[in-house]
């Protein structure tokens, strides 16, 4: 490889490089500063902000890094930098920054403060895995990044070791993860055996001329999908989600539900689009190469995912577990955007993710702040909270209403664009199913409101005081929900500008 090519590639990888350096610095600082571990959090924050800076810098950039193969294919690399990837990287970085703030005020994490360096190092490992997942266009790199993300999250899921459930979550997560990564690897090996390449672009050009055994190829693709489906917790690969989300420390749960899911979706979208799309027609619809019916598969899976998620959430009494199921349901909604197979659907997905980031993290944050004080996430312990702690209860109510998708919150805008995309693609039936699902979800979200405002508590509960920084953090998540609920044009414009996936 020429030197100029290398420096070009490394230039494109500045965010990842920054993050890796920050990871090393974290480990070093952890060794050096034995006594004052507070500094570690700030180092993590600075590392993330620097990474975020480079990600934002990259918004106008695009290109391939680390070209594989011979001269004629040099244009296609293992890593693709484009505005689509930058958007998701930004989502991940923003979520990570918020998670650092979460961790600063989480009681669970405070109890294990002597291992805080380890904690952040693992989180940074996760983030690194996500960033690579978002921009990887080579099956080997995809597999590696998924593993990097998974291995760190297995440990983090059982990190606090405070309760039995922690270890159970961690173990289950690992067993389940190994199964799906095994499946994925099997699929990758089949693809490599059939095509002789692991590069998605080359696979795309190879299947344009149908001389492969399409059946075996489809089977391999489904195995790979199983690996990705497990990351985004779509049915039937979602079973780990509630157990892990409930058992893991709440900061990790929140992180998994937003950042990890975002990375998984970015990978799925990129994988489907680069491998199977032959061209994009003038009205923005993606025309697939005839391999097998991806569209039906995604439609069926998304219906199953949201229905299972919503229906299971109905009777959950633990808020963390309820939010876990609700995040499964949201994965189902987001998949609808992919099922449309159009630029409009992709735009809707990006908008939804930006909104989902705010409202889901917000809901987890409030649940955490409450759990810090009353040491419970059970819905019965929320009785009368609306009167004893009006600020927290009102914020939680707004986050939940936004998750339901009612105006004037941003959640409404996310769903609106998704449904409009569905209707424009003549998939009205699917839109109706999604709408009915939303109605079901209203029940379990509003049930929390009922407990907070209408049910009288058995014993008088003391006011839950929030510290200034926490109040600010809640507001930081809360205010944009209203702003984007009313004035959402900037968000839409940003999403519209970020649907370019390089190569097509």
């Amino acid at each position: 490889m020429e030197l100029s090519n290398l420096s070009h590639s490394l230039n494109l990888l500045l965010p990842e490089l920054t993050l890796s350096i920050a990871l090393l610095v974290l480990v070093l600082f952890d060794l050096i500063f034995h006594h004052d571990k507070k500094i570690i959090s700030y180092v993590a924050l600075i590392g993330l902000l620097a990474t975020g800076f480079f990600v934002i810098n990259q918004f106008s950039l695009s290109g391939f890094a680390f070209s594989t193969g011979n001269e004629s294919y040099r244009n296609f690399g293992m890593i693709t930098i484009d505005s689509f990837g930058s958007f998701f990287k930004l989502i991940v970085i923003v979520a990570s920054v918020i998670i650092v703030f979460f961790s600063l005020s989480s009681d669970e994490i405070k109890k294990t403060s002597e291992r805080i360096g380890e904690y952040y190092a693992l989180i940074f490992g996760m983030i690194l895995g996500m960033l690579f997942m978002i921009s990887a266009t080579d099956l080997i790199l995809i597999y590696l990044s998924v593993e990097l993300l998974s291995l760190s999250s297995y440990v983090l899921a059982g990190f606090t070791k405070l309760r039995e459930r922690n270890s159970e979550a961690s173990l289950k997560y690992m067993i389940y993860g190994s199964v799906s990564s095994g499946l994925m690897l099997f699929g990758i090996s089949l693809v490599y055996g059939m095509t002789g390449t692991t590069n998605l672009y080359m696979i795309n050009s190879l299947i344009q001329i149908p001389h492969l055994n399409l059946f075996t190829f489809s089977f391999a693709m489904i195995l790979i999908f199983a690996g990705i489906g497990y990351k985004i917790s779509s049915a039937p690969f979602h079973f780990w989600t509630p157990d892990v989300y409930e058992g893991a420390p709440i900061t990790i749960t929140a992180f998994l539900s937003v950042a990890s899911k975002a990375a998984g979706f970015a990978l799925l979208i990129r994988f489907v689009k680069i491998t199977f799309v032959s061209y994009i027609d003038t009205s923005g619809f993606w025309q697939l190469i005839h391999v097998f019916d991806w569209k039906t598969l995604i439609v069926v899976i998304s219906i199953f995912t949201m229905t299972l998620g919503n229906f299971s959430a109905l009777w959950q009494d633990n808020l963390k577990r309820m939010l876990a199921y609700s995040s499964i349901a949201h994965a189902g909604y987001i998949m609808l955007g992919l099922a449309v197979l159009s630029n409009q659907g992709l735009t809707a997905m990006l908008i939804y993710f930006a909104v989902y980031l705010l409202m889901n993290l917000g809901a987890f944050l409030v649940v955490m702040l409450i759990a810090n004080k009353i040491n419970s996430e059970e819905i019965d312990d929320y009785d009368g909270l609306g009167y004893s702690s009006p600020f927290l209860a009102a914020s939680l109510a707004i986050f939940l209403i936004s998750l339901t998708g009612l105006p004037p919150t941003a959640g409404f805008i996310g769903k609106l664009y998704l449904f409009v995309a569905l209707v424009d693609a003549n998939m009205i039936g699917l839109a109706v199913v999604a709408l009915l699902n939303t109605v079901v979800s209203l029940y379990y979200y509003v049930r929390v409101l009922k407990h907070m405002y209408l049910t009288k508590p058995e014993t008088a509960i003391p006011e839950i005081k929030t510290s200034k920084p926490n109040t600010i953090l809640v507001l930081v998540l809360l205010i944009p929900i209203f702003i984007f609920g009313i004035y959402f044009t900037p968000l839409v414009d940003l999403a519209k500008g970020c649907i370019t996936i390089l190569g097509l």
């Binding site: 389940y176 059946f215 489809s218 690969f237 079901v440």
Partner: protein, 659 residues
């Protein structure tokens, strides 16, 4: 300044936020009042700047749009947050911010000592904010946003003393009545907007109005749009049949009555009809309806005003009546005359209300004019300004109301017919009469309050030790004086061509570009001479003077005539006193059936039986399904892996069958 027009909207919003968020912590009333007033005062200065800048532009460049940002862009619907600065919106914004500022200042004194002082000012600022959106918006949606916003503020401010009693009910009930009646109108407006969008594929004023002139659209569609819009206007501007809320709106503090329920908000309907003049001009049948509704409202409200004893109620009916005049003008195609009357009415009616507020203040919340009398010597400033306003509204020559009302009457005759003019003049007679009945009973004659004040039990003040009536403080009288001056000279910018000669009517020529398309479409070609105009004018002046004198004679010189008259015409008197029993009729014909129907059919049958049945059934079904699904989540990792494999196998099977 045109490009900074958004400041006129932003400043009141900032005022609202400051007073609304931190008002309860600001202990100093002065600070709150000054913040609230300054926000509106500065907005007035910006409007004034924009006005002079526009005045300096050539006529064809006087309509400017200031676009702030794209608000909505979903599925073909593109709404920009844009503000239209043209001749019409400038007149309206000058009225809203100008009169609004004076009323804010007045409120500093009037609301002194109220426990909701900061709340009051934050609501007032919020009102100005939404009202400015209404008059400046460059599309129907922003207008509607303001329309709903002022409705909300009106509700909040009518119910400001929500814990007080008002007539037979409570203040909160009066507020609800206003809100609900307005909702009926809003629904019509909304339907009109939907129809406009589906017909013209846009909600932007300039786009819609240019399409109105060129699109091949049937007159039926135009009529439907116009009638729906007019239903909206009857709600907001208190016209038959939706006027019933305005008298009850007097439950709010008096500055609110002056600002919202006299000078600004209630004229929103007139503004909207004038703004959409081309749509109305395309539906001549609806124009006639508008004129007739306006005329009838003017007449009926004036008759009801004759016998009311509550000082604010008299003014409320007078407002409804004057609004009727404005719709009469719009209905006969004299849109600029209608806006002219909006302006002069804003001056003198705001003044009347503020004067009434000053009297009520002095009389310690006593509002019954039967308990006033002889206040002239105690409150000279209030008396003089009130008298000015009363002369203006009665159409005394030279005062502002004379010019605007006379223009309307003239157009009612020339574009309409003799009957329109005749009823208009008769209403003018009634107007002069009830206004001077009010003046006489309040300021002239014997002092009746000394004997009755001990019995007064209504209101919010203490009545045991009523001090001597006194003049209000400067902060209240100065706005009165300014409005008094405006009530006198305000008409001179619209002097008819008859008197000003060559220059023509300044006000009319200023607004002409806005209404030109509509006027061309209507093409009234009545040929009338100046002699006819002078004759009609002389008659209406004579009528006004007769009304004034009759009231003065009956209520000051021979107070016993009033009693005998009331006894003689007992039937009519009772009918008028009970406001033609319209409230009772609505209660029996609309409210009761709806309540009964809602209870018997909607609740007992539809809701409990059908909807609850479906909902509970669905819930049970979902419960069952979710119970089953839930059991799949066993917590056993091996089982999860099995399901996953089954899933993959199912897809595989589908592949085999499919390919």
């Amino acid at each position: 300044m045109i490009n900074f027009i958004y400041l006129t909207i932003l400043l009141p919003l900032i005022g609202f936020l400051i007073n609304g968020l931190f008002g309860s912590k600001i202990k100093n009333e002065k600070v709150i009042g000054i913040i609230g007033s300054a926000a509106v005062g500065l907005a007035f200065l910006v409007s004034l700047g924009a006005f002079f800048q526009t005045l300096g532009l050539p006529v064809e460049q006087r309509s400017n749009t200031v676009e702030l940002f794209t608000w909505l862009n979903v599925a073909g619907l593109n709404i920009k947050f844009g503000y239209l600065v043209d001749q019409l919106s400038l007149v309206m914004s000058l009225i809203v911010t100008g009169v609004g500022f004076l009323i804010h200042v007045y409120s500093i004194g009037y609301m002194h000592g109220d426990k909701g002082y900061w709340r009051f000012f934050s609501y007032l600022n919020l009102f100005i904010f939404t009202m400015m959106n209404l008059v400046l918006g460059d599309n129907f949606l922003v207008l509607f946003l303001g329309w709903e916003g002022v409705g909300l503020c009106s509700y909040l401010l009518i119910g400001f003393w929500y814990d007080k009693r008002f007539e037979k009910g409570t203040v909160a009930q009066a507020a609800k009545k206003a809100f609900i009646v307005n909702r009926i109108g809003d629904f019509g407006f909304l339907l009109g907007m939907f129809l406009i969008y589906s017909t013209f594929d846009s909600l932007n004023f300039s786009e819609v109005f240019s399409k109105v002139q060129h699109f091949p659209v049937s007159e039926t569609t135009f009529s439907l749009i116009a009638i729906f819009l007019f239903i909206g206007a009857t709600g907001k501007s208190a016209q038959i049949p939706l006027y019933v809320w305005l008298p009850d709106a007097m439950a709010g503090p008096t500055p609110v009555s002056a600002l919202i329920h006299a000078a600004t908000m209630v004229t929103a309907g007139v503004y909207m009809v004038s703004r959409a003049s081309i749509i109305f001009a395309s539906a001549p049948a609806v124009m006639t309806i508008v004129a007739i509704i306006g005329l009838l409202t003017a007449l009926f409200a004036a008759t009801m005003g004759l016998v009311q004893n509550d000082i604010k109620k008299v003014l409320a009916y007078s407002t409804i009546s004057q609004l009727g005049y404005m719709f009469l003008a719009a209905g006969v195609g004299a849109f600029s005359a209608s806006i002219f009357h909006v302006m002069t009415h804003a001056f003198f009616k705001a003044l009347l209300f503020l004067g009434a507020g000053s009297v009520i203040h002095a009389m310690h919340e006593q509002q019954d004019i039967q308990n006033y009398g002889g206040l002239k010597k105690y409150m000279p400033v209030t008396y003089l300004t009130f008298l000015t306003a009363a002369l203006a509204i009665s159409g005394f020559p030279g005062f502002s109301g004379f010019f605007s009302k006379d223009e309307i009457l003239w157009y009612a005759f020339s574009n309409g017919n003799f009957i329109f003019w005749f009823i208009g003049v008769f209403t003018a007679l009634l107007t002069a009469f009830y206004m001077f009945r009010l003046v006489s009973l309040t300021f002239y004659g014997e002092e009746r309050f000394k004997h009755t004040q001990q019995h007064a039990s209504e209101g919010r003040g203490e009545f045991e030790n009523v001090p001597h009536p006194h003049e209000s403080p400067k902060v209240m009288t100065v706005p009165l004086i300014i409005l008094g001056i405006l009530s006198v000279i305000g008409g001179f910018i619209g002097i008819p061509a008859l008197f000003s000669g060559e220059g023509g009517n300044n006000f009319e020529s200023w607004l002409e570009p806005i209404f030109k398309p509509a006027e061309e479409k209507l093409a009234y070609t009545g040929m009338y001479t100046h002699a006819q105009e002078i004759l009609l004018m002389t008659i209406s002046v004579a009528v006004a003077l007769a009304g004034i004198y009759a009231a003065y004679y009956i209520y000051t010189k021979k107070p016993d005539i009033a009693g005998t008259m009331a006894k003689k015409f007992k039937g009519i008197y009772t009918l008028l006193f009970n406001k033609y029993y319209v409230d009772e009729f609505y209660e029996a014909a609309v409210v009761q059936p709806i309540q009964k129907g809602a209870e018997k059919i909607l609740w007992k049958f539809t809701d409990t039986f059908i909807i609850d049945g479906i909902v509970n059934g669905a819930a049970k079904l979902i419960d069952k399904i979710s119970g089953t699904i839930r059991k799949m989540q066993t917590g056993v990792a091996q089982f999860y892996a099995v399901i996953m494999m089954v899933g993959i196998a199912a897809v595989l099977l589908w592949l085999i069958l499919g390919i």
